[in-house]
């Protein structure tokens, strides 16, 4: 016997987080703590107009009055919001410079992350915006996108160059007072991506943002705003990594999507923040608010692969306001060791003939807890609304937990709602069958997990699907005892 399950288990347990390196970049970091002065300072740093500063301060005052939510099925030591630095930026970052001017260390970091900016430019049809710590450091393809009238730039730049658009849409889908983390983000967000697709334009390439927390003792608060004007289409990708640290770093992002009449937005996330070590020490707290607004005949599709973070609190949602609009949510959430995830979606049906689909696959291993929490709400005017939800959980080992908390509220008699959930483990007979045909246990589990997650993996754009598949393999195999 060459490779036993025990050995595999051991190897996996000790397997290091691949992206756990730290790059020593010269960076400028604000003192720790949060008060009005810090909010003003961030705004000043970004050279923001007066209305933006006021908007932030207003959010800060709202946040001060709010309490951190406790209803989620996760347990963690609450971060001390006064012990976090709210601004950190690699000093070399300057969006006006070309790539050649960029710090060699930074480029080395991209290489490790697998994002070679140059290469990507040539080989893949992906425009990338990279956000390290708090600022956007590189945006590719701006020119070729500009020819089509597509605006894709860091949000800080958008505030300068397109204040009318930002002012009109920011905070309309996720108001400042929406929740604790959204209010915090509204006050201190430092960068993120802004994207506007004009009427009738089909974005020719995938737009992508890569987030990375590099500095210790900081939090990352980015804000993404995607606006798809009438009859346009965009596919947007988002990826995240962070160095391995003993402390718990905070990531509180806000993503707002607006799909106008007949528009379609496809938003995919591969979240691989540092999950903490195998004793559950360290790791990123991922408290994210994501929501999309659908106008008439539009469609928003969320796809997420969640493998990282020590604690995840995330509910990408769709407000189906327009008639005949469509919302979709495809998710794979994997937890291992001491990770905790409370994730799911909200589908708010307001318009007539609105449809939504929810496919959620939870996989828990080690001592982790994985929860699905979802809301399907059919308003009294949402005639002929249709929802289908399916939540499947896979348990590996008897020390983890899988939980389902679906909320279904219907106020219209023509509503059709179906919800289905199952919990099971990898069948011994399935493993036996594979073994029998010469597939070793490691491969067999990968095969079965892949099959389990296929419905969601299929929804990812090609490049991401490969990455996601790899991630799943790393996070999971051999966890079956």
């Amino acid at each position: 016997m060459a490779y036993t399950e025990e050995e595999l288990k051991k190897e996996l347990e000790t397997k290091e987080y691949e992206y756990g390196f730290y790059t020593d970049l010269k960076s400028e970091t604000f003192p720790k703590g949060l008060n009005e002065a810090i909010v003003r300072a961030i705004s000043k740093k970004k050279d923001e107009p007066e209305w933006m500063t006021e908007w932030r301060l207003d959010a800060y005052r709202i946040w001060e009055q709010m309490e951190e939510p406790e209803w989620a099925n996760v347990h963690y030591e609450k971060p001390d919001y006064q012990a976090i630095s709210y601004y950190s930026a690699p000093v070399v970052a300057d969006p006006n410079k070309t790539l050649d001017d960029v710090d060699a260390d930074l480029l080395e970091m991209y290489r490790k992350l697998g994002i070679s900016v140059d290469e990507q430019k040539k080989l893949q049809n992906v425009a990338v915006d990279i956000v390290v710590d708090s600022v956007s450091v590189a945006t590719t393809f701006q020119k070729s996108l500009g020819e089509k009238g597509i605006i894709f730039m860091p949000i800080s730049e958008a505030i300068q160059k397109h204040p009318d658009l930002v002012k009109k849409y920011m905070g309309t889908v996720i108001p400042k007072k929406d929740n604790f983390y959204a209010a915090l983000n509204s006050a201190v967000f430092t960068d993120g991506s802004f994207c506007y697709i004009p009427k009738g334009v089909r974005c020719p390439m995938e737009l992508s943002t890569y987030f990375r927390i590099n500095e210790g003792g900081t939090g990352q608060f980015e804000r993404t705003l995607v606006i798809a004007d009438e009859s346009s289409y965009v596919s947007y990708l988002e990826g995240c990594t962070a160095p391995s640290r003993d402390e718990n770093q905070l990531h509180a992002a806000v993503v707002e999507l607006i799909a106008m009449d007949d528009a379609e937005i496809k938003y995919s996330t591969v979240q691989n923040w540092y999950p903490g070590n195998k004793e559950g020490k360290g790791g990123v707290y991922n408290f994210v608010t994501k929501r999309g607004l659908c106008e008439t005949r539009s469609k928003i599709s969320w796809t997420q692969v969640e493998t990282g973070s020590a604690v995840t609190w995330k509910y990408p949602s769709c407000i189906l306001k327009g008639n005949n609009s469509v919302g979709e949510f495809y998710s794979i959430a994997v937890t291992n060791n001491y990770q905790q995830a409370d994730t799911g979606t909200k589908m708010i049906h307001l318009g007539k003939n609105t449809r939504s689909t929810i496919i959620s696959k939870g996989i828990s291993a080690g001592k982790s807890q994985n929860s699905y929490r979802g809301l399907v709400q059919i308003g009294s005017r949402a005639e002929n609304a249709r929802n289908f939800s399916q939540c499947d959980s896979l348990l590996m080992g008897n020390e983890c937990g899988a939980h389902t908390f679906p909320y279904i509220e219907a106020k219209n008699k023509t509503a059709q709602v179906e919800h289905e959930a199952t919990t099971s483990k990898i069948g011994e007979d399935q493993l036996f069958y594979c073994n029998q045909r010469g597939i070793d246990t490691e491969k067999a589990i990968a095969l079965i997990v892949n099959g389990f997650s296929k419905e969601v993996l299929n929804k990812l754009p090609m490049e991401f699907a490969v990455e996601a598949q790899k991630l799943l393999e790393i996070s999971l195999e051999g966890s079956v005892g």
Binding site: I378, L395, N398, P406, A410, A415, Q416, T423, S424
Partner: protein
């Protein structure tokens, strides 16, 4: 709400009561802010000044209330009028089994040992309405079935509210102990005979020992001013089977807290319900099945049909502990909305800590099949009857498992009446 200071301090369970009232005072009435009461508000009830202890004895003639009994069959009867035992309407027994009163079990020394072992042992000590009942309960049914026994006939527990004293709040308390290999069938009903407000906060504790079988039916078809909060706690031991069927057709506000704790292996729990509502009625089914040990099963099946401005809530929770491997837990909740103003809130919940389990839940909200309606109408079945037939078919899964034929016939009649049709046959 005013509680008269009328508690009997000499009572043997006085300590339990004192602790309960303390817990209730700490918690107060549940509000919508609590997750478990998210969809049900007790505000409208708290505004009413209920009287807790009836001041006078009220009598009822059997002929006036005969229709509320399953009079087609012979049964043991435990009847209460405004919370006070009515001996002339009841039929109790001590012949091999004890089917009698909670008040005598609580006071007579011969029952002391049993009361010490069972009273308030499975009921929650911090759920506020349960503690309120523990503090103020005086009367209810006490049923004790010894090893290998089965009563000759089913037991009916009936609570009548006469409303001779404006608004009344009743706190019935039932204790049901079924020993090893014994069996019992129980039918429980709460009925208000008045247009005055009535609120019943009932607690039932059921202990099913090894291989025991308990078959419990709750019929809820009360008037538009009667509200019911029913807290039922079931403690099951190995190889036992407890079935609880809840039929909710009426009442202003009904809340069913049904809690199963599986303390043993190889057992089965069945929770089924049919809810048909109209007007402004509100029914909230809140179930919990806690799988504590391996190799057990649970089956839940709740059907709801909601008309007018009624509201239905289903909140089903299944917890599977780490050691409860090989658990099979199933939960189903199907709903039909037949009015634009009706609302359904459903929250089927799974919390699973063991890996070798099969757990599933399903929840649907839908309409009656238009094609089936059309088909029946082409065959000369009027629309109203066709609709009723489809609704019968929808509820039939649950009705099928009712094991007392006369009771099944009675429920069929209630459903037909609720749907306003006469089909002239039994399903």
């Amino acid at each position: 709400m005013a509680f008269e200071n009328n508690v009997d301090v000499e009572h043997p369970v006085h300590d339990v009561r004192t602790e309960a009232i303390k817990n209730f005072e700490n918690k107060g009435f549940p509000s919508k802010k609590e997750e478990a009461w998210k969809y049900t508000s007790l505000n409208s009830l708290q505004k009413i000044d209920f009287s807790i202890f009836p001041k006078q004895d009220n009598a009822i003639e059997y002929k006036d209330v005969k229709k509320y009994f399953i009079h087609e069959i012979d049964t043991y009867k435990i009847v209460f009028i405004d919370g006070v035992y009515s001996s002339n309407l009841s039929e109790t027994t001590h012949d091999g089994v004890d089917i009698c009163l909670m008040s005598s079990a609580l006071t007579k020394p011969m029952y002391k040992q049993i009361i010490d072992v069972y009273f308030n042992k499975v009921a929650s000590k911090d759920e506020s309405l349960t503690t309120l009942n523990t503090a103020f309960c005086r009367e209810g049914a006490y049923i004790y079935i010894p090893k290998n026994k089965m009563p000759k006939k089913p037991v009916e527990i009936l609570h009548f509210a006469t409303g001779n004293e404006a608004s009344i709040m009743l706190q019935p308390r039932n204790l049901i102990i079924v020993e090893e290999n014994a069996e019992v069938q129980i039918i429980e009903r709460h009925q208000s005979l008045t247009a005055n407000e009535a609120l019943t906060n009932s607690v039932t504790e059921i202990f099913a020992a090894k291989s025991a079988i308990v078959d419990y039916y709750k019929i809820q078809n009360d008037t538009a001013n009667a509200s019911l909060i029913d807290n039922t706690y079931v403690d099951q031991k190995g190889k036992s089977h407890v079935k609880v069927h809840t039929f909710s057709f009426g009442g202003k506000l009904t809340r069913n807290n049904l809690n199963f704790y599986q303390n043993g292996e190889y057992m089965d729990s069945t929770l089924k319900g049919v809810t048909i509502l109209g007007e402004k009625q509100h029914v909230d089914h809140h179930t919990l099945v806690h799988h504590i040990e391996p190799n057990c099963e649970s089956h839940q099946d709740y059907k709801g049909i909601y008309g007018d401005s009624s509201t239905g809530v289903f909140n089903g929770k299944i917890i599977v502990d780490k050691i409860a491997q090989k658990t099979n837990a199933f939960q189903k909740n199907n709903n039909i909305l037949i009015s634009d103003k009706a609302t359904i809130n459903s929250k089927p919940q799974l919390e699973i800590f063991a890996d070798d389990v099969k757990c599933s839940h399903g929840c649907t909200i839908g309409q009656l099949d238009e094609d089936a309606m059309f088909y029946m109408q082409t065959r000369g079945i009027p629309q109203k009857e066709a609709r009723a037939l489809l609704m019968y078919a929808f509820a039939n899964n649950v009705l099928e498992s009712v094991s007392i034929p006369e009771l099944k016939a009675r429920i069929n009649k209630l459903i037909a009446k609720k749907l306003g049709v006469n089909l002239g046959f039994d399903l």
